[in-house]
């Protein structure tokens, strides 16, 4: 039981990070139906910038929390700038082009950002200085650290803030209007270009925060970290219903849980020798041993499977509306 609880805690934390990254995908997709393939790289750059700042400040003797906050405060504007330039230089000129064009550009941007980051921060895995005194609490046999609690709290706060922004501010109204119909929104006096740029910038800022969360949680950052994280977060966004903000949160957390429970239990569940009658059939093969079809080595498959299954059977995701165009 404590193992199960612990897996829930693991999944929830990882899922929260996915969720924040997924928000970036879903916002951009919701507004201009573009899969911003390079969003994962924005998250990576956020983590890298934060690493540089935290690494520089760590020996200074400032309180750890302040150091991390300063790191985040530096990462956010850098990522916003990256997000803005990306939109302005690579995507805006292609608005109205066939769908595949911006997607191919996005792949190009992603390769570019990755290797530029490599030139700046080297190929090595960067180890975040361990400045935060990580207190571990034990709840019913499951341990949860203060960093994990902080990550979950930050995610909830970000989600709330974003909801306020989208549903309670003028910019939010303009965003929703643009998402529904950019032409009509333009006619109603919305500066569509500005709104789209704002969406990219906000998504990038969220990405920066996600990068810092990831870095402080796992303690490492590398120039390649964005691609797999991005793909998983994208899968999470699709699972929740792409274009749908609460959906991204739900999708992220669900994917985190699926991965943790999957990696934790698939080995035992697919151990043919654990089932009496199959074990009898297998005879000597088992003999007190195991015959595991799928072990934790298939952990990375879950995200892709979720992606494929959702897109094939329910392209609108869990919370998305059924839109004919998406199918």
């Amino acid at each position: 039981m404590d193992t199960f609880l612990q897996q829930l805690v693991n999944g929830l934390t990882a899922g929260s990070v996915y969720a924040v990254v997924a928000l970036g995908y879903t916002m951009v997709y919701g507004i201009i139906q573009l899969i911003n393939f390079a969003h994962g790289e924005v998250v990576m750059i956020g983590a890298m910038v934060a690493f540089t700042v935290i690494n520089a400040l760590a020996p200074g003797g400032l309180p750890p929390l302040v150091v991390v906050l300063v790191g985040t405060a530096c990462a956010i504007p850098v990522c916003m700038l990256v997000g803005y330039s990306m939109e302005r230089l690579a995507y805006r000129p292609l608005r109205g082009a066939p769908r595949l064009a911006p997607l191919i550009t996005a792949i190009g941007v992603s390769i570019l950002l990755q290797h530029l980051a490599m030139l700046v921060w080297s190929r090595n895995v960067l180890a975040f200085p361990q400045i935060i005194q990580n207190t571990t609490y034990t709840l019913a046999g499951a341990s949860i650290t203060s960093v994990q609690i902080a990550i979950i709290a930050v995610c909830i706060a970000l989600m709330g803030g974003l909801a306020l922004l989208v549903y309670r501010t003028q910019l939010g109204t303009a965003m929703r209007a643009t998402a529904q119909n950019p032409h009509v929104a333009g006619l109603m006096g919305v500066d569509v270009n500005r709104v789209i740029a704002a969406t990219f910038v906000i998504g990038a800022a969220l990405g920066a925060v996600a990068g810092v969360l990831y870095g402080t949680y796992y303690g490492v950052a590398q120039y390649t970290m964005g691609s797999i994280l991005g793909l998983k977060a994208f899968s999470a966004a699709v699972l929740g219903g792409i274009g749908n903000i609460p959906g991204a949160m739900l999708g992220g957390v669900l994917l985190g849980l699926v991965e943790a429970l999957g990696a934790g239990y698939i080995g035992d569940l697919s151990d043919l020798c654990a089932y009496g009658w199959i074990a009898d059939l297998m005879g000597e093969q088992c003999d007190g041993g195991h015959f595991i079809l799928f072990g934790s080595n298939y952990q990375d498959v879950f995200a892709f499977l979720v992606l494929i299954v959702v897109l094939v059977f329910r392209p609108s995701g869990l919370l998305g509306e059924r839109v004919g165009d998406r199918a």
């Binding site: 895995v125 341990s143 490492v220 943790a260 934790g264 072990g295 080595n297």
Partner: protein, 405 residues
């Protein structure tokens, strides 16, 4: 229209190429007298390792080792067959990519090298070895540890470093005899290296009647080990072995301690670096790990000083081995009194040589007989050697150093 233009360009190209083809025999005829010029014999020695990419620093380290040996041989005015030899050193970059590995191997064969030191990775060494074998050129790797490399049956393939199936058993038997675990969890990163060494560890542990949990795996990019570790925590292993690199091993160790796993953590040479302290923090204290061969600081003093003087850095990992590999090639040539691969290959097979990494002799497959393995532990944020395993026997590091003197 476009096709026509293309056609014309190609005609020009064809004419030019045809010209080249005709010159071929003439060029060969010219080349020969030059090589046979009296008193100075030119001998080319190649080296292959990744000079670009993620492990370029290790590639450069390997190259430096071999380069030093060649330069020393030149400085010593080595003589073969009565002539003074001028060794030229050709360094190639295989980018740690199997495709590029075969291409650069071919380049060295084209350049008619007398011998090759390399490649660094098993993944590029294995597809390259048939190319060298066909040309009859001896190749000695100082760092490729995959057993398959010498199991292919090529007479010209050698290595001076221990195999995975020598290193795996070394760390496993050290673990088994000193920590006496009852249950061990084995994890790997699903790469050729990680899985290879983990398999050998598992085999040795099982042979010592120690229970091993079903294998858990991540990837060479995994940073979140919590799900796997949580599962293992429920099984309460006494020791954990991870086959993989420091980049993934560090987070694994850190997260393991965060989850409250008290077991001994042990690693292969991929995670046997000082990076582990940075990546895992205080959790790295007390880890056990192994390196193939003897630690660089135990290598021949003279070599270490020469290396430092020549390249202004300390050797990182395998430089003493590539240094010895190049020395072996030259020594075999001297013994055979010929730089012709056909003539000196038999000498190489039965050589008995003492190099920077100790005594070297090859078995029938081209593997080093009785290669040493070193066990390290992390103390106060620094890795230090604690034991040497050789030919199934374990001795402490102090005993070993005494024996070397």
């Amino acid at each position: 229209m476009n096709d026509m233009k293309l056609g014309i360009t190609l005609i020009a190209a064809a004419v030019a190429l045809a010209g080249c083809g005709e010159q071929k025999p003439a060029a060969k005829a010219e080349a020969k007298p030059a090589a046979a010029a009296p008193s100075v014999l030119e001998v080319k020695i190649g080296h292959v390792g990744p000079l670009t990419g993620g492990i370029a620093h290790l590639g450069k380290d390997n190259e430096n080792g071999a380069r030093l040996a060649v330069e020393e041989a030149n400085a010593a005015r080595t003589r073969i067959d009565g002539k003074e030899v001028k060794f030229t050193f050709l360094a190639e970059d295989d980018q740690a990519d199997p495709k590029t590995g075969t291409t650069v191997a071919q380049k060295l064969v084209d350049a008619k090298v007398a011998g090759v030191v390399g490649h660094l990775n098993s993944g590029t060494s294995i597809p390259a070895s048939p190319i060298y074998a066909q040309a009859g050129i001896p190749v000695i790797s100082g760092s490729a540890t995959n057993p398959k490399l010498t199991e292919q049956g090529f007479k010209s393939q050698f290595r001076v470093v221990g195999r995975d199936d020598q290193q795996g058993p070394a760390i496993a038997s050290y673990l088994a005899t000193t920590k006496k675990p009852k249950l061990v969890a084995v994890i790997d990163d699903a790469t050729a290296y990680g899985e290879g060494i983990a398999n050998e560890v598992e085999k040795t542990l099982k042979a010592a009647n120690i229970k091993v949990l079903p294998r858990e795996k991540g990837t060479d990019k995994t940073t979140d080990w919590k799900a796997v570790l949580t599962k293992l925590r429920g099984r309460r292993p006494d020791a954990v072995f991870y086959g993989g690199m420091d980049a993934t091993g560090g987070p694994l160790l850190k997260q393991g301690r965060e989850l409250g796993i008290k077991a001994v953590f042990s690693f292969g040479d991929g995670a046997c670096t000082d990076e582990m302290t940075k990546l895992a923090g205080p959790a790295a204290e007390g880890l056990l790990c192994s390196q193939a061969g003897i630690p660089p600081q135990a290598a021949d003093k003279r070599f270490l000083e020469a290396y430092k003087k020549r390249f202004n850095v300390d050797p990182i990992l395998y430089a003493p081995f590539t240094y010895d590999a190049a020395k072996l090639l030259i020594a075999a040539m001297q013994k055979a009194n010929s730089a012709d691969p056909k003539r000196y290959l038999p000498e190489l097979q039965k050589i008995d040589f003492t190099g920077a990494t100790g005594k070297i002799a090859f078995d029938g497959k081209g593997d080093r007989k009785d290669a040493e393995m070193t066990i390290f532990t992390m103390q106060g944020g620094k890795l230090g050697p604690i034991a040497i395993v050789k030919g199934g026997k374990t001795m402490t590091y102090e005993e070993f150093i005494k024996g070397m003197k």
